[in-house]
């Protein structure tokens, strides 16, 4: 009990401190940390997702594992996106392509580049190689207020259910897409169940709930493979590369 409470105190500051403790005490390889929560009197399991990850099968689309049933408004929005794409009018529907704006949630989880996960201070931070983007999941269980202005990554809170992190994201700007084409309204709620399939495989079960555009919730499963540990990614500046590409296209 004393040990677990000490661990709990340390954990609130620094999960790797616990991880390192396991390593230095010969308990390396343990991926599930169980701490005591005296207030509830029951064990809570917290998975250690920290590390560098990369999508296993890169795809521009969130490949649905359940049927996608659009509402009339959703069909209209999707048709418009397809029309704009056929005319290469990217800035009218996909400002990630045209401006390097954050892809937001859940599209960031489809990035073909690496990302790193930190679990610190009650927050799970996804530190993306692409344009040094961030998304965070607040696990502290504190009450939240709706954002005054929606964000590309919205506002995400999470909780543990068994060994899965269940994240709920709301307040996502409707200037983002679910993937490279699927639209959503500002009322979208994204639910993710993130868990370790094994020590080197991370799974994100994504569910889209947006009654304005979709008649029923739908989603897909994205998996990631653990990458060699490195604390640094190259400084990726999307705008820099976009401008370079634009100059090249102009022959300058």
């Amino acid at each position: 009990m004393i040990l677990t409470c000490i661990m709990q105190r340390v954990f609130r500051t620094n999960i790797p401190a616990i991880h390192n403790w396991f390593v230095t005490t010969g308990m390396a390889g343990m991926v599930l940390l169980t701490i005591c929560t005296p207030a509830q009197g029951q064990a809570t399991t917290i998975s250690d997702f920290e590390g560098v990850w990369k999508i296993a099968k890169p795809s521009n689309s969130l490949e649905a594992s359940t049927p996608v049933v659009l509402t009339a408004e959703g069909r209209k929005a999707l048709a418009e996106n397809k029309r704009l794409r056929s005319q290469h009018k990217y800035d009218d529907y996909d400002i990630t392509i045209s401006r390097c704006s954050s892809p937001g949630v859940p599209r960031l989880m489809l990035t073909p580049m690496r990302f790193r996960i930190w679990q610190r201070l009650g927050v799970v931070t996804f530190d993306f190689e692409w344009n040094r983007a961030l998304r965070q999941i607040d696990m502290r269980g504190r009450p939240t207020e709706p954002l005054l202005a929606p964000q590309m990554t919205g506002q995400t809170t999470g909780r543990w259910e068994g060994d899965a992190l269940v994240a709920e994201t709301v307040d996502v700007s409707d200037r983002t897409l679910i993937d490279d084409i699927m639209p959503h309204s500002s009322d979208m709620r994204v639910t993710e169940r993130i868990r370790l399939v094994d020590a080197d495989t991370l799974e994100d079960r994504i569910t889209i709930d947006d009654p304005i555009y979709y008649a029923k919730p739908w989603g897909g499963v994205v998996t990631y493979t653990r990458q060699p540990a490195t604390p640094f990614f190259p400084e990726h500046v999307c705008l820099d590369r976009r401008d370079t590409a634009a100059r090249a296209m102009r022959g300058k």
Binding site: S101, L121, R175, F232, F233, E235
Partner: protein
């Protein structure tokens, strides 16, 4: 949570831009500092020696040297905007504590001193030791902004602004570290400051970065970080105090814990750049422990700056070459 922290990234971007543009009305807490009273602009007069001690007894600071011709150019400039500081929620006893290890900087920190829009003094109160080239660059930038034509800089282009400007902003950042590396993750500009403590085992990525290449080592409990190899010239502050791509920043970082539950990071930065400064000079900043700000607000300046059809670069103009 203050209303300020609820600003959208665009609003904060505009606020910063407004600062660059000297649009005082657009920045709630910015106000023009009163003009200098017309006396010698060489800093505060040295304090009188304490009773019983004559001049030169060792306790009074030495008199500041007379201004150079280059420094006189700086002192003749209009004063910079004076930035305010928005209060942050207080750290409570329920919040996580900073690790006891003085070499463990991990956690959330927040620059809790008002932003110096233009660095007018070194840490000893002396004028920056500008060369004539350095003075002319600062004067050109300040006067162009005064004339309503502020120059484009990395911030306006949504590019990483370099370690000094990045740290100076009053926004939280997180430090994570291992035995051979330290990483700063900033709320603003998607900022990352990567420091290798052992390039052999933990090399920095190849190429030149906007944030430069930073190598660190420990001197006691102080982390000494040398940053060089910048991809482009830096602005060290909003008004454009310069650092050439060949310049060097040496940061001495230590965690100070006075036992009052309010640890802070102290970062002394030595600025070395013979092109713009006659000798290395130092500035100091303080960063408060703020574990209660672990969730960052989104900063998505690309949405505005990347607009291919509208005004980019926040309406700033291209700077003329030296």
């Amino acid at each position: 949570m203050t209303a300020y922290r609820k600003h959208s990234s665009r609003a904060r971007m505009l606020a910063l831009t407004a600062g660059i543009l000297n649009l005082g009305a657009g920045v709630a807490v910015a106000q023009m500092a009163a003009p200098p009273p017309g006396g010698p602009p060489s800093g505060n007069a040295p304090a009188p020696p304490p009773p019983g001690r004559g001049p030169g007894a060792g306790l009074a600071p030495p008199p500041l040297p007379p201004l150079t011709e280059a420094q006189k150019i700086l002192t003749a400039l209009p004063p910079p905007m004076k930035a305010g500081l928005f209060p942050q929620p207080p750290v409570t006893a329920d919040d996580p504590v900073s690790p006891a290890d003085p070499r463990d900087f991990q956690g959330i920190w927040y620059h809790d001193q008002p932003l110096e829009v233009r660095i007018q003094k070194d840490m000893y109160g002396a004028e920056p030791p500008v060369t004539m080239a350095g003075a002319n660059v600062i004067a050109r930038r300040v006067r162009s902004a005064e004339a309503g034509k502020p120059f484009i800089n990395a911030s306006a282009k949504c590019l990483p602004p370099g370690p000094q400007w990045q740290r100076d902003l009053n926004f939280p950042f997180q430090i994570v570290q291992g035995k051979t590396w330290v990483a700063f993750i900033f709320e603003e500009y998607h900022g990352r400051w990567n420091i290798s403590l052992d390039p052999k085992t933990t090399p920095l990525p190849g190429g030149t970065d906007f944030m430069g290449r930073s190598i660190g080592h420990w001197e006691g409990d102080t982390l000494v970080v040398e940053s060089t190899g910048f991809k482009q010239a830096l602005w060290l502050d909003v008004d454009g105090t310069p650092l050439s791509p060949n310049g060097r920043l040496v940061q001495r970082i230590r965690k100070v814990n006075l036992g009052d539950g309010k640890p802070f990071l102290e970062i002394i930065t030595t600025i070395e750049d013979p092109q713009y400064y006659t000798h290395p000079w130092n500035i100091v900043r303080r960063f408060a422990w703020h574990p209660n700000l672990p969730v960052f607000k989104e900063y998505n300046c690309e949405e505005q700056v990347g607009d291919p059809s509208g005004v980019t670069d926040a309406g700033l103009v291209v700077e003329t070459a030296d």
